[in-house]
């Protein structure tokens, strides 16, 4: 089994995700990028689980999928509320955390 290929795929997905989070202005797209990051981690976990012949990684991956689903629910809810109040979901407009 070529572990490298899986790790490489995961790294690529992770970078795409990070790029999306940093560069995208649209909040929904940022959420999607976060999903990409999480799934790249999942791939990593499964890869090493397969290599070590244990099921711990699978269990963790399942947990992460469940948590991610909940997180997307909360995130989309936040986005909806932001849109209702600000009439926009561009994250550049939302700079109220400025110190």
């Amino acid at each position: 089994m070529f572990v490298n290929q899986f790790l490489f795929l995961a790294a690529v997905l992770f970078c795409i995700g990070v790029y999306g989070v940093i560069a995208r202005k649209n909040a929904v797209l940022m959420l999607m990028s976060i999903e990409l990051i999480l799934n790249s981690v999942n791939i990593n976990l499964l890869t090493f689980a397969m290599r070590n012949g244990s099921t711990d990684g699978h269990v963790f991956a399942l947990y992460i999928i469940a948590v991610a689903a909940a997180e997307v629910g909360v995130g989309l809810g936040l986005v909806l509320l932001v849109y209702r109040n600000k009439k926009t979901i561009s994250v550049d407009e939302l700079s109220e955390m400025r110190g």
């Binding site: 994250v91 939302l94 109220e96 400025r98």
Partner: protein, 764 residues
């Protein structure tokens, strides 16, 4: 000799059966019923009372089955064989090397008491269905009544002292709830508290006794029988093994006996019992016939070997148990003469009868005393329920014999008949049950060489006959007075008139739910004595055969050669050179004893005739006096106590209950509580406050120094410096706080990337 043959022969196993093996269910059923009544009782069609009655019926059936199988078990044994009790035990909890068990110990004694308790409880619950109809706490009453019976049943079949204590305390708690059932009236809640605290005083003795026995016996029982030092069986064997230190076992026996004094209302802790009449009549009936007060006597009967050895029963000159019993018989019978409340007469009569049981146990008349528990339960329950029937249907909830009763024999024929039967049984008139038990006690006390105590017993019999005749005369004969004459005297309500809807009727007979228990009980008051009718010969002495543990040495093959199999084969054997068992008189040689050897008096009609004559004399004298005093109003007798000074003093002494209540409440409680509280106050003011003041002064000085030197210079300096530093850092870092999420994310990821890089570099 049979005995020599028995030494080599392996005896057939004893018969057993489902009811004996599962007797532990008997108290479990009422306990579950209690929980159910509390939880769902109010929503049931009969407000939970059906659960109580059903659970008591189930317990009654189980205990009857157990009694039947126990008789079979006894019959399957040979003449001289020790009938092994059916013991099952489980580990309840373990803590620090102590193993607290829970389990059953079924032998003749527990079978008898189980049956009596379940039987009386069932009848009392049926009676309460009518008596408490419409009461505001009907459901709770039945819950407490059921748990109360459950506690007694658990105590009776306990195989160890911890479970025994549990049942004992459950009963104490439930008696508090039941006596104070109508707690809105101050007197009732005071009576409940008094009962609770008086019994608690004795309970301290039980705890001390149990712990002493455990620490004294545990090593021996573990080594020889593989039982814990809490086990009743182990303690019994230990007490008779010749092992125990005489001082230790004496102190333990006295401690346990103090518990008995409290629970069984013996002198000097009997004062709570008459006050306990504040509860509803069914409660009085249950408390004073088969449960609660019998618990103390049961404790002595159950751990009889401990008392036998510890207090030197059968020794010359009498012992503590006998003295207390004899004093109780006489003083409480004397108190019964000056009571106007019918239930109080019965209460003092109960105290006096418990004195007989104690006297019997103290004098080595174990079986007559246990038999007296059995017969007394029936006739005393019947008398109490009869008093309740009168107050319920004839006297507007009043129990005052002088004001509200009289002439009731015509309007209440059933109550009257059952009352008369039970009274004759209580007095010990020949064919009635009380004769066979009470006379046996008196007879055996004399037979064992205690002539003085026998005379006390006969005097007690005379007094019993006299005060019961007085009460009967006042209640059922003469002219109707007060409420029973139809006058409505609402101010005389001793009892809670929560169901006053029938107060417009005159006196009448009670309904079937009340009279049926009365009739059943009176039949037993008449006939139960035949179970051990000594006058008719050996073959009538069933109780002796079934109940009395046989005093033979038991060799237990399980433990003879170390830990063996669970199969237990008992070989009764006679010690070398002696043809009879030596249990209780000297050290058993090859086995263990579970019961001391006791002699039984030979019945003689001449002795019975003597006591009979004394009883009749008491009745006649009392009858004539009552008639002269209460009906004819004879000028020589009326107001005698006012005219003759010495009689007046005696009367006042009795009316004030020997001033024992005053002694306890005004002298002891005051002398203990007041100095303690004033000493506590002084201690508080001078010692504690002084310490506090000096501490606070010291603290103030110290804190002044701390403020000047540490707080101002060190702490404040540090704080000020760090604030300045933070401010400059904050100013420097301000530009990064753009408020843009993307920027934060980028910072986060780059930081993570740097950290990952560092990690990789370090690890390679």
């Amino acid at each position: 000799m049979n005995l020599l043959a028995a030494e080599t022969e392996v005896l057939a196993p004893l018969a057993s059966g489902w009811f004996l093996e599962n007797a532990w269910l008997i108290p479990v059923i009422p306990a579950i019923a209690f929980a159910l009544i509390i939880l769902i009782g109010k929503r049931l069609p009969m407000k939970g009372s059906e659960l109580g009655v059903a659970s008591m019926l189930a317990s009654l059936v189980l205990s009857a089955g157990a009694a039947y199988q126990w008789i079979q078990r006894v019959n399957s044994a040979t003449e001289e064989q020790f009938v092994e009790p059916v013991i099952r035990s489980w580990s309840w909890w373990r803590s620090g090397g102590f193993d607290f068990g829970i389990g059953q110990h079924i032998d003749g004694l527990s079978v008898v008491v189980l049956f009596v308790v379940a039987f009386i409880s069932t009848l009392v619950q049926i009676y309460s269905l009518e008596y408490l109809r419409g009461d505001r706490r009907y459901t709770h009453f039945f819950a407490a009544l059921t748990l109360f019976s459950g506690g007694m049943l658990a105590m009776v079949l306990a195989d160890n002292m911890i479970l025994f204590l549990l049942g004992w305390e459950v009963m104490g708690l439930c008696s508090f709830m039941l006596i104070g059932h109508w707690w809105e009236e101050d007197a009732n809640s005071r009576a409940a508290l008094k009962a609770f605290f008086t019994v608690r005083t004795g309970d301290v003795g039980l705890l001390v006794g149990i712990s002493m026995l455990y620490f004294a016996a545990n090593d021996w029982t573990q080594e020889n029988l593989g039982l814990s030092g809490f086990s009743i069986r182990g303690i019994s064997a230990w007490a008779l093994s010749g092992e125990p230190n005489s001082t230790v076992i004496m102190v333990a026996a006295i401690a346990l006996f103090i518990a008995s004094i409290g629970k069984s209302g013996q002198f000097p802790l009997h004062t709570w019992l008459p006050d306990a009449m504040a509860g509803p009549t069914p409660v009085s009936s249950l408390l004073h016939s088969s449960t609660m007060v019998v618990a103390g006597v049961f404790l002595v009967a159950r751990l009889y070997p401990v008392f036998f050895v510890g207090l030197d029963i059968l020794g010359s000159g009498g012992n503590l148990i006998m003295f207390i019993g004899a004093i109780t018989i006489v003083i409480s019978a004397a108190l019964a003469f000056v009571q106007n409340d019918i239930k109080r007469v019965l209460a003092y009569s109960t105290v006096s009868q418990l004195g007989y049981m104690m006297l019997g146990l103290g004098a080595g008349a174990w079986l007559p005393a246990v038999f007296h528990i059995f017969t007394h339960a029936f006739f005393k329950a019947c008398l109490f329920l009869g008093a309740g029937s009168i107050s319920h249907s004839a006297s507007h909830h009043s129990f005052d014999m002088k004001r509200d009763m009289g002439g009731l024999r015509k309007v209440m024929p059933i109550t009257f008949t059952t009352w008369i039967i039970s009274t004759l049984a209580l007095c010990g008139v020949f064919p009635f049950s009380g004769f066979f038990s009470k006379d046996e006690i008196i007879d055996n006390v004399g037979n064992n060489g205690y002539n003085t105590f026998m005379i006390v017993g006969l005097v007690g019999a005379f007094m019993t006959a006299a005060y019961m005749t007085r009460a009967t005369y006042l209640t059922f004969f003469g002219e109707p007075r007060g409420a029973s004459a139809g006058h409505s005297s609402h101010e005389s309500h001793d009892d809670h008139a929560s169901h006053d809807d029938h107060s417009s009727h005159g006196p009448h007979e009670s309904g079937l739910l009340i009279t049926a228990p009365l009739m059943i009980l009176s039949v037993l008051a008449l006939g139960s004595g035949l179970l051990n009718a000594t006058p008719f010969g050996e073959s009538w002495e069933r109780m002796k055969l079934w109940v009395e543990p046989r005093a033979v040495e038991v060799v237990d093959s399980t433990y003879s050669g170390g830990p063996g199999e669970s199969l237990i084969v008992n070989v009764p054997s006679a010690g070398e050179g002696s043809s009879k068992s030596v249990c209780g008189t000297s050290t058993p040689e090859i086995g263990v004893c579970y019961a001391p050897k006791l002699e039984h008096a030979k019945f003689k009609w001449s002795k019975a005739m003597l006591s009979m004559a004394i009883v009749f004399l008491g009745m006649v004298v009392s009858w004539i006096l009552s008639m002269l005093l209460f009906t004819k109003r004879d000028a020589r007798l009326v107001g005698l106590t006012q005219r003759v000074k010495i009689l007046g003093v005696g009367h006042r002494f009795l009316v004030n209950k020997y001033y024992l209540d005053d002694l306890y409440e005004k002298v002891i409680v005051r002398s203990v509580a007041y100095p303690i509280s004033s000493a506590a106050y002084w201690f508080n003011q001078n010692v504690l406050d002084g310490i506090l003041h000096s501490i606070s002064n010291l603290t103030r000085k110290f804190s002044g120094w701390v403020y000047k030197n540490i707080d101002q210079r060190v702490v404040d300096g540090t704080v000020n410096n760090s604030a300045t530093f933070t401010k400059s850092v904050g100013t420097a870092a301000q530009p990064t706080q753009s408020g843009k999420v993307s920027q934060y994310g980028a910072l986060l990821f780059s930081a993570a990337a740097v950290a990952a890089l560092v990690l990789v570099i370090i690890n390679t």
